[in-house]
């Protein structure tokens, strides 16, 4: 494990500014430590809207003048471990997309053990990256504050996502909830 490897968890609602905050935090770390910025893109450009969103995110990162290495990895993010070194500052955006991809790659009805395996794969994948990098910043979404009991798939998805979030917050050095562009620190201390 890198000497000061750390994990930061960031979540918030749709368009809450969580990605911008995560990018800002990552570049701050990079400036301070001389670390290298790596962006892990989980989105698959499946349609025009998705493609445009990805392009917007790419332009935003470029416009801010920082140099990012982009690694595309829609599933099995642990596979990236060999490409990560102890100087890397990694931004993973976002867990919900990763969970979607990981669930749909199976493309069949999933039983309890499949679901446990999906969760395990995401959690260990993130920890493998954390163990090799200087810092891993993980972004996710707040989607569990509405009824999710009416549909079996949504219930199962919500349960997995909630469990993954609990796992990440528990291990995180810092955790933030972003509300309307304002990050609220829920755990840890700003360095």
């Amino acid at each position: 494990m890198a000497a000061s490897s750390s994990l930061i968890f960031i979540t918030g609602g749709v368009r809450s500014g969580k990605s911008s905050f995560a990018e800002r935090l990552a570049t701050e770390f990079a400036d301070k430590t001389g670390g290298k910025l790596t962006y892990i893109a989980t989105g698959v450009p499946s349609d025009r809207e998705m493609k445009l969103r990805i392009e917007k995110h790419q332009r935003d990162r470029l416009a801010k003048g920082s140099i990012w290495r982009t690694l595309e990895q829609p599933v099995n993010i642990g596979d990236l471990a060999s490409k990560i070194s102890e100087n890397d500052i990694i931004l993973l955006d976002c867990v919900t997309t990763l969970l979607n991809n990981q669930l749909f790659v199976a493309n069949r009805n999933l039983d309890e053990s499949d679901l446990a395996a999906v969760k395990e794969r995401i959690q260990t994948g993130i920890m493998e990256l954390r163990n090799r990098a200087k810092t891993v910043i993980v972004v996710s979404n707040e989607v569990l504050h509405e009824p999710i009991f009416h549909d079996h798939f949504i219930l199962m998805y919500g349960k997995l996502l909630g469990q993954i979030h609990q796992f990440l917050v528990n291990l995180a050095d810092q955790a933030y909830l972003v509300e309307a562009g304002i990050p609220i620190m829920m755990k840890g201390m700003r360095q």
């Binding site: 569990l144 509405e146 999710i148 919500g158 349960k159 609990q166």
Partner: protein, 144 residues
Amino acid sequence: MHFITGGAFNGKKAWVKKTYRVTKDDPWISAYKNDLIPINLNGIDRNLIILEGAEQWIKKLTEIHNSTKSRELWNHYLNQWSSWEKEKPERQIVVIGTDITKGIVPLEAENRLWRDVTGWAFQDLAAKSDKIDVIWYGMNQSIK
């Protein structure tokens, strides 16, 4: 009364178990196990009672009654629970309710009713609680 809320699958149950050192002997009445809403707690001679799934009990109320009547009944139950708790100083009631109020407006009228009444009912519960904690992925934020 201690009201515990937060989103679904945020670790509310685990937090309550840990914080109150809940044992198998403590009555844990849960809408998720299809337990009915307890109308009165008389006869339960324990110090700690946990009531889980408030939003599901509220849903049941709204399936039968309009919003005014649902809320009236809800407050009646809250008062009953409170008076049980006040009988002995060592008694504690913990009510767990999942926050279902922050999504997109539901398409179906019955789900809009459920969501509205849940919001109001949680305000009533909060007003009658001595303590409130919001659980966010296992971490608590005390708001009262």
